[in-house]
Amino acid sequence: MIITRPRDWSRIKANLAEIGARSVFLVGCGQCATVAHTGGEQELLEAKARFESEGIAVAGWAVGEVACHLGGTRLTTRKHHGELDEADAIVVLACGAGVQTVADSTSKPVFPGLDSVFLGNVIRHGVFEERCQMCGDCVLDLTAGICPVTTCPKGLLNGPCGGMWEGKCEVLTDRDCTHVRIQRRLAEQGRRQTDVLPPKDYSKKLKPGAINLRDGRTTRSGGEGR
């Protein structure tokens, strides 16, 4: 899931002040931001109270099913069109994908209420860790299911680096070195370690990614438009 965290409140206030907004509509997300406790119903109600205590009216709020789903978000904005018409701006408590989907679904100014930080594993309730960077060129088959691209702070494919000490990472000293973990797990599973992993193919992760299953082709660059 996409992990988000609350954005600097003064920046949100400055965004609204810059366009002279006196009232806002709040949009959350029923998926990731709800699980991350940053953009679910509870967080929207907290944000509502905070805006109101600081003199900004909240015309309404909605937590759609998935903020980044264009069709669903358009339905949400249609359903709340009366409240939206009253608002000078929309603040979205969802990831950057959600913010852009909302911005594509309304003519009102839209501002992010969160910062998107990583694709996270849910380790347990409220504990998230980054394990995958969506690099488009997976090496987990060779690295015993431990991603060096993401979990080695330097992203080295061939490690450990010269700072490893007593099996610990040089950069994040309280963590085990990713490369030592990979070697250990491969050995435990009786698997041979690949000699040298070749340089990554970054052309597999060119921005902006786009896939279209409808016309049977995958595109790596260029969006599909609206």
């Binding site: 080295l156 494919l157 010269g162 490369h179 070749p198």
Partner: protein
């Protein structure tokens, strides 16, 4: 041909030193250091934004060492440049006469003076050594023929004292397989561990140059133990430095003993004088 390569080829016990390019354009202090260290050393490493802190480019500074009449070892880290920049700098280095090369991963930017910087690490040091080997054979990373090939005497870094030993020696051996002809180690304090790594790396065909750090004061010991992850001064050595009435002469004596011990197990020493440049000649005497 690289004098360092020649000396190692003859079986001579080599000495390398280290100079740091300035933060700025005034190279007076660097050249003074070169003049002091140069006569005692076969070659001088020229560091590349060491510790992820800003300095003049090692490419230019290494050429200044060459102009001063000494042989540089051009250090290249993978932290600050992508594969295009790394390759073009390698071509530049060879074209301006730099023959020795030390390829290292590089410290992470978050431990340096520009913690907001993006660490590049497009290639790691093993991969970069493979690139260098290709360039020495006249082709770039994508296999295109170069107009004029390189002939680098390439080296890598290793850390003989880091445990688990197996995890890091496997990688060091891969660096040798990728083209490292010599290996410079991080500071060594445990001669048995040095001997073990030296035996394993020599068996792969690389020369081993052991890192000797001048522990000139208890403050240096504290810095190493607290700030440099993975570089721990053993208690018995720490005590010698702490109890010494004259820490500098104790540090020199300690380094002399280490150099003598290294002569038995490896091919040379890399002296890191931490400012005590003038003591290097004495250590080697």
């Amino acid at each position: 041909m690289s004098k360092l390569a020649e000396a190692l080829g003859r079986g001579e016990f080599v000495v390398t030193g280290e100079v740091s390019p300035p933060l700025g354009t005034d190279v007076t202090a660097m050249l003074a250091s070169v003049a002091t260290l140069g006569p005692s050393c076969h070659a001088l490493n020229v560091t590349d934004n060491q510790g992820a802190t800003l300095h003049m480019a090692s490419l230019a500074a290494a050429r200044l060492v060459l102009d001063a009449g000494h042989e540089p070892i051009f250090q290249q880290t993978c932290r600050d440049r992508n594969r295009l920049a790394l390759q073009s700098d390698l071509l530049a280095a060879w074209a301006i006469g730099l023959e020795n090369l030390l390829v290292v991963t590089g410290d992470d930017p978050r431990g340096g003076d520009h913690p907001e910087a993006k660490g590049v690490f497009d290639l790691d040091s093993t991969q970069l050594l493979e690139v260098v080997s290709g360039m020495n054979e006249g082709r770039d990373m994508i296999g295109r023929e170069l107009t004029g090939k390189t002939g680098f005497f390439a080296g890598a870094a290793a850390f003989p004292e880091a445990e688990p030993y197996e995890a890091q020696i496997v990688r060091a051996k891969r660096k040798v397989a990728a083209g490292a002809r010599f290996v410079q180690t991080q500071a060594v304090f445990d001669m048995d561990k040095l001997a073990r790594a030296s035996r394993d790396l020599r068996a792969e065909g690389a020369s081993v140059i052991a890192g000797i750090l001048l522990l000139k004061s208890p403050r240096v010991v504290d810095f190493i133990n607290n700030k440099l992850a993975g570089l721990m001064v053993p208690t018995h050595i720490e005590q010698r430095v702490r109890k010494a009435t004259d820490p500098v002469s104790e540090a020199i004596e300690l380094a002399r003993e280490q150099v003598a011990a290294c002569r038995e197990v490896c091919d040379g020493v890399h002296i890191m004088p931490l400012g005590l440049d003038s003591a290097v000649a004495e250590i080697l005497r």
